[in-house]
């Protein structure tokens, strides 16, 4: 950091190297996430609008699957996540990307809402006892909509964290490290949860084969 205190001048280490983080650069003419955060912190609401437009669809898709496919609940989760983001922009640190930070806000609110609606947590052992696979042969009338509905049912039966890990990896295409940052768990835990999530979902989707 180069500080112009008048008349003294001080030079800090950040000027030595040129900071360039491609992970947060959107490329092209679009401002990077880092620029949008900077502008939003300065009170520029249009920058925050751009953040909402850029990351909102993914957050909504994630929230929708986290709360059992209920539109109204997903809308509530995403709205509260963005309100929290606006209020806490000052606390956002560049250690995480804007995307992982926003998804972490979404995840926490989705889990909170699920706990309010479903006070009994589901764990792996309990999971084995519920939701037996469908008995009918689905091959005759399988449609995307039914397939997604079946996956939603299967997802709902997963423990919250397992469901979040699976969605962030398989649908949102996040890396293990990004998921770990988003959910405040270790990358090893991400691997374990993902492995169990894939197994559980594969079992439950097997009748659709």
């Amino acid at each position: 950091m180069l500080v112009f205190g008048w008349p003294a001048l001080r030079c800090g280490p950040r000027l030595i190297g040129v900071h360039h983080d491609p992970a947060v650069d959107a490329g092209g003419e679009e401002p990077s996430d880092r620029v949008l955060v900077r502008l939003a912190r300065l009170g520029d609401r249009s920058a925050f609008d751009a953040i909402v437009e850029r990351h909102g669809p993914g957050m909504y898709r994630f929230a929708l699957r986290m709360v059992g496919g209920h539109d109204a609940d997903a809308a509530e989760v995403v709205q509260e996540a963005f309100v929290s983001a606006w209020k806490n922009l000052e606390t956002f640190e560049a250690r995480s990307t804007l995307r992982t930070w926003l998804f972490s806000l979404t995840s926490r609110r989705a889990v909170d809402l699920q706990r309010r609606r479903r006070p009994t947590p589901v764990d792996d052992e309990f999971l084995a006892l519920v939701a037996p696979p469908a008995q009918r042969d689905p091959l005759q009338d399988v449609l995307d909509r039914e397939l997604v509905a079946a996956l939603q049912v299967a997802l709902t039966q997963l423990p919250d964290q397992q469901r979040a890990v699976w969605l962030l990896r398989e649908v949102e295409d996040m890396s293990y490290d990004e998921i770990a940052t988003t959910l405040a768990i270790t990358p090893d835990s991400v691997r374990g949860q993902l492995h169990r999530g894939r197994q559980n979902l594969a079992e439950r989707m097997a009748p659709w084969r």
Binding site: M1, V3, L42, P57, F82, W86
Partner: protein
């Protein structure tokens, strides 16, 4: 999307999930933006000075105050150029007075940051004088701190 019945059902369902349209998102985004616009940005009010450097005006000693919510965008507007972007602006208020302004900037690699810093200091001083009048205790040389917190290789307004 047509379903490939020969593939793994979980993979098919996952693919269907990924390619789902945004559905209710467009309408929801409007609601979110409206809600955020109703949120008040924290701010402080800063007392202004008349040409004689006094805060009380007229026989009844009225005062005029300017919100930092007004000062910050005004400062940003006058500080930004193609070769520098504002990273943060802090208006320090003590006892209703603006006692310091801290400006963090992102510059372009290779630019003369010393000259940029001088220019920014002058611009801040002019904005404050225009918005708040002449505060006799405010010393621009002492109370305006300009810091380049980053330098980038391309457009600082995009990077």
């Amino acid at each position: 999307m047509a379903v490939d019945e020969s593939s793994d059902p979980l993979a098919r369902a996952t693919e269907a999930l990924r390619s789902e349209d945004d559905g209710a998102w467009t309408e929801l985004s409007r609601t979110i933006l409206e809600r955020v616009r109703t949120l008040v940005v924290p701010a402080e009010s800063v007392v202004s000075f008349n040409d004689e450097g006094e805060t009380e005006r007229g026989a009844r000693g009225s005062t005029i105050r300017v919100s930092t919510r007004v000062l910050v965008p005004a400062l940003r507007h006058d500080l930004e150029t193609p070769s520098r972007a504002t990273d943060a602006i802090e208006v320090v208020v003590t006892d209703d007075r603006c006692v310091a302004v801290k400006i963090d900037l992102v510059g372009v690699y290779g630019a003369d940051l010393q000259a940029e810093g001088d220019e920014v200091r002058r611009a801040v001083s002019e904005v404050l004088r225009s918005a708040l009048g002449p505060d006799p205790d405010f010393d621009a040389d002492r109370d305006i701190r300009v810091s380049f917190v980053d330098v980038v290789t391309q457009d600082p307004h995009r990077q």
